[in-house]
Structures are given as C-alpha cells and as structure tokens.
Symmetry: C2
Subunit: 341 residues, 2 copies
C-alpha cells in the first residue's frame, strides 16, 4: 500500500509527524504516503479566532472526505493504528495558538468535540494564557492558562509548548496532570535559537513523560539541517540528553505554503512591521549553506529516516520509538480524556 | 427514582418533551423529574450566531456536569434509554433557528459534533434557508436550504419546521431523505394561528413518517389549552388526522423565562418594534379565558398525561407512543446519521 521503507527487522515502522503546517491538497497526501507516514498532525490555526478555526475544520472535513482513499481523520490513538492497517494516513488536527478559544474556557471541550487534539497555549505573542518565546518577557503560565491546561487534561487535548517562552513551558510542564509536548522544537544547547528549548526544560518535560518532536525546519536546526545524517546526529544528541522514550519527529513541513501563508504565520493581524518568525537573522538569502533542508522538501523524504537511524546506531526498537512509537504512546495517554477537571 | 405516574398496564412510560425553551436551572431539572420526563429537547439558539451558540453549549456542558445526579447529555437514542434506566432526564440540545451556521454549510457537522441534534431552518423571519410562518411571503426552501437539509440528513440532525412557513415546510418534507418534525406546533384546522400547520402539511409529514409535537403553549392552542382534557381532545383529533404514530409532545415550556428572554425570542436584534411572536392578538390580558394553561405551568404537570390519555380512550401502547415512543423512534432513525451526503 504505502511506499514505506521496511526496517531491517522486517516490519514496517509506524511513522508519525507530530507537527506540519499546510496548506494541504492531494499532492501533499501522496507525499505523506510516499514517506510512509501513518499520521501527521496538521495545523488548523495560527491566529484564527473561533469561527475562522471552524472554517478550517469544516474545510478539513471536506478535504478528508474527498481523499478518503489516502487519508482518514484521527481522533484517537486507535484511529491511527487502524489507518496503519489500512495503509492510509491519519490526520490529527492541532492549533498552534489558543486563539480559537476566543477567551472562553468552555471552548476547549467544544473544539475537542470538533476534532482538535493538540493546542499550543501561545504562538509568537504573549497571550492571556502564557508567554511566547519571541517576547522580551515571558510572564509564565497565567491563571487562565492554568485553567486551560486543566481543561485540556480533562477533555483529552495535548498541551503543546513549542512556541512558548521557557518560563511558560516550565510552568505548564509542572502544572499539567498529564505529559505535555514540544511538538516541533530542538535543544537550544545544540542550536541557539529562541524557539528551541533549554536542556533543563527538556529534562523536566521528559521527567513527566513528555515528548519533544525534533523539527527539520532549517531556521531552528542550523547545521543539523544540512543532511539527513546531520539531522540524525541531532536525534542522537537529544536522545543522550533526555532518553529515547522522549524524542520524536515534528518536521514543521509546509511544502505548499507561499507568501500569503508565511505572511499570515508571521504577522497575523497584530503587526504591519517586518516579522520573520523563526527565520530571524537566518533568512534563506543570508546563509544558504545552513538554511537548506535538501533531504526533506516534503514528507516523502521521511521514508528514509527509520533505516538511517538504524545505520546511525539506533536499535530497531529505538528507531521505531523515535519515528512514531513515542507520539503514539503520548497520544494514547492524552486523547482518552477524563483526567481530573 | 422519578415521580412518574405508572400507566394502567403497570409499566412506567418513557416521556419525551420534544421542545422546551429555558432558561434552565436545578429547579427546572427537578420539575422534569417530578413530571417523569426521561428526555427534553432544550433550545440553545433563537437568533444566536456561531460563537453565541457555542457559549450556550459550553454553559450546558457545565450545567449538566453540575447536576449529573438529575440530568445527562443525550446524543443518541441509546443515551435516552440509558437515562430512563438510571432515572435521570436526558437533555437533547436543539436550535430554533439556523443562525448558528452563520452562513456556512460545513458548520452543520461541527455543531453536530458539539452535540446539537435538532435544528429549525427558520425561526420567526425568512432566512437564507427558507421562509417563516410570520412573513407575508414564504419563498419556500432555498437552494442553500436544500443543501442544509441534505447535510442534516448526512450527519444525523433532525430537521424542525415548527416556525417555518407552509411552503417551506412542504418543500423540506419532500426534499429530506429522512422524516422531519414539527417539534412544537398544532393543527391549524383545530386552532387557526400562523404557527400551526395545515392538514395537508401534517398529512405529508406523516406520510414520510415524520412527527408533530403538540404544543401546550397557550397562544397556539386556543381553547385546547384550558384543561388537560381539552388538550387530550386536541391529541385525539390530531391522531384522527395523521395517525397515532405521528403525534407527540412538544410543550414549548419555559417556566423560568422572564421579560429579557421573551424580548430576545420575539425581537432578537432585527427590530426595535413591537413583536409578540406567537402571542399576536391573543396576549394574556386580552383573553384570559383561553390563554391560561393552568394544568401545565412547568414540566411536573406532564406526569398526568399518560394516564389521562388512557382515560380518554387511548390504549396503553398508543398513550406510550404519544408521550415518548414516537420521538424515540424518530430520534433513533435520524441521529445515527450517514444518510446520503
């Protein structure tokens, strides 16, 4: 069914990409299939409010129905395992901001009802919930933020801290009754960028059984983006730091994004000024040597990862954990819901 | 558990009220229990847009959780039967207008995800979906209206035509792949009011296996509202007209509504003028003789209905069909969804 590379031990890995951006079309679904990707978490909101996010969810319902031979909606870990058996890609829906809540605690449950399973507390700005990695001052998880984390635990939605500031990350890791995630970020000790996470944060995340999805987004990888071997070296070093149980993939891929999409991600409606987001001083033209991810221009490149991790010294079990098993375990622990309230 | 009157044949009827207005609090839930009501469909929107309706749904989630000893949310017919076993009242959520869609076809599925199971295409005004019973001209079910009916069939949401104009009612009955409802209306041949339905409409509804919930709302009952015996006479005459399989209860009760709620129902945001809605020329002060429903000031009065229907000449099976069985059958046929798309 899929073009997945078979691992040396003979069984095909279950590959999960914990964070992608879009936009999506049938081409992208074919790339996911070519990459042997069983599940991808797609972004439905960066700055969108409630109704705009519902527009995105409704569009996803239509897109999934129109491409049912390739993709299926996922709302549980079991949906992902079923997709694997069917040779299809399960699409999980996530938000990179809590803007869909439009200031309402009760909307956490309603968006969960509509299929949202992952949500960041902040994107690139401080919010009523916490601080962003790009602000001068991160005030930490707010009282409202604590309420939202508790509600996400109760309904079964994964707390994502990828774009949050270090203080908010630490607060949320501590406050959450369940493990949390950095769905797409790298260790700052390997590449110094505000989007990346301190070793102490990563260790705290792992101590509560959370998962970090290592990004392939060139601007936050530095030289680790150059080749797949370089990226595998980042995986190995992160595993040394936090343990193989806590490292996964979160590419941040958006192969079909154009100027309009990047402008929306970077500027939303909050500024007319120049905002490069993660690109900061390392725009494509400023450093072509380190800013190219030639090995992964779209998800089809993920087909190589499992075997290369094994070549790199990982056992087959370890490689399988990194390429999908760790996300599946975390999703399974979170999505069933019912944890406190 | 409940104070339900036991029917002459010894078993307690499953009572469903197909339409109530609110507002709700614990007192109202206790009235439902006292009335032996196993399920009530509560209104979450009259003129509310998407986010306002979500606010109402979120408030319901909290209210249900806070009164879980008395009430449970219902999303399927099985939920209603389970509530009966537990001696609790299942709350179904419905909208008396399609305003929550905010012009979007795709929101039908999203509101279904959030728990909405019944929706009118129009309330008191013509909409983009069809015509209201109060407008001078009812243009019938529109192209958008047909799309919405088809989508409601597909996702499993009951089409309610209670406030629609006669032409829109007939169009929707014909267009819908599944039975539809008048959740709260009476035969116009028994009491002439624009909110009530022509015999031909009622017969068409029944021919497609739909259900009409007879209202106790005094303004659309006329003299049939005076006593329970009068109301039972209306039931009997409606049964003569369309058959016992197609007649049910839809009280339109709102025991806790005050001036603010009635003003919102009648005027929404569309007029500053006087709008009496169903009261029209028969306001409480103009005709106290026919405008009093002394036997049903709140849902506790429903405890008397089953036995009185039997006294009135209905068999026990017939009485059970009218007080709940017919709604349960229709809900079961609709809510499973998956009919075309």
């Amino acid at each position: 069914m899929t073009a997945t590379a078979t691992a040396p031990d003979g069984y095909t890995p279950l590959v999960i990409d914990g964070l992608q951006c879009g936009p999506y079309d049938r081409d992208v679904f074919l790339q996911l299939r070519a990459g042997g990707v069983t599940c991808a978490t797609a972004t439905v909101a960066f700055w969108e409010d409630a109704v705009e996010t519902m527009d995105a969810l409704a569009a996803w319902n239509d897109l999934l129905a129109a491409n049912a031979d390739l993709v299926v909606p996922a709302r549980t870990a079991a949906d992902i395992e079923r997709a694997k058996e069917q040779g299809r890609t399960a699409i999980l829906l996530g938000a990179q901001n809590a803007s869909p809540l439009q200031g309402r605690l009760g909307f956490v449950r309603l968006f969960h009802d509509m299929g949202l399973r992952v949500m960041q507390l902040t994107y690139n700005n401080n919010t009523e919930f916490g601080g962003s990695c790009y602000e001068e001052s991160d005030p930490g998880l707010t009282r409202f933020g604590r309420e939202v984390v508790r509600e996400m635990n109760a309904v079964g939605m994964l707390v994502d801290l990828s774009h949050s500031g270090e203080r908010t990350r630490r607060d949320a890791i501590e406050h959450s009754a369940l493990p949390v995630a950095l769905t797409h970020a790298n260790p700052r000790s390997l590449y110094d960028h505000p989007r990346n996470a301190d070793d102490a944060t990563l260790k705290a995340l792992a101590a509560r059984d959370g998962v970090v999805g290592l990004a392939t987004y060139r601007s936050i990888c530095g030289h680790y983006a150059r080749t797949l071997d370089d990226w595998c070296a980042m995986v190995a070093r992160t595993v040394d730091l936090v343990g193989v149980r806590h490292v996964a993939i979160g590419t941040d891929l958006s192969p079909k994004a154009g100027a309009a999409e990047f402008t929306w991600m970077r500027k939303g409606r909050w500024t007319r000024g120049e905002q490069r987001g993660a690109d900061l001083g390392t725009s494509p033209t400023s450093d072509t040597d380190t800013d190219t991810t030639e090995w992964l221009t779209d998800a089809s490149g993920l087909a190589q990862v499992t075997t290369r991790l094994v070549d790199f010294g990982f056992t087959s079990d370890e490689a399988h954990a990194v390429v999908g098993g760790n996300w599946l375990r975390l999703y399974s622990a979170i999505f069933e819901g019912g944890h406190g309230s």
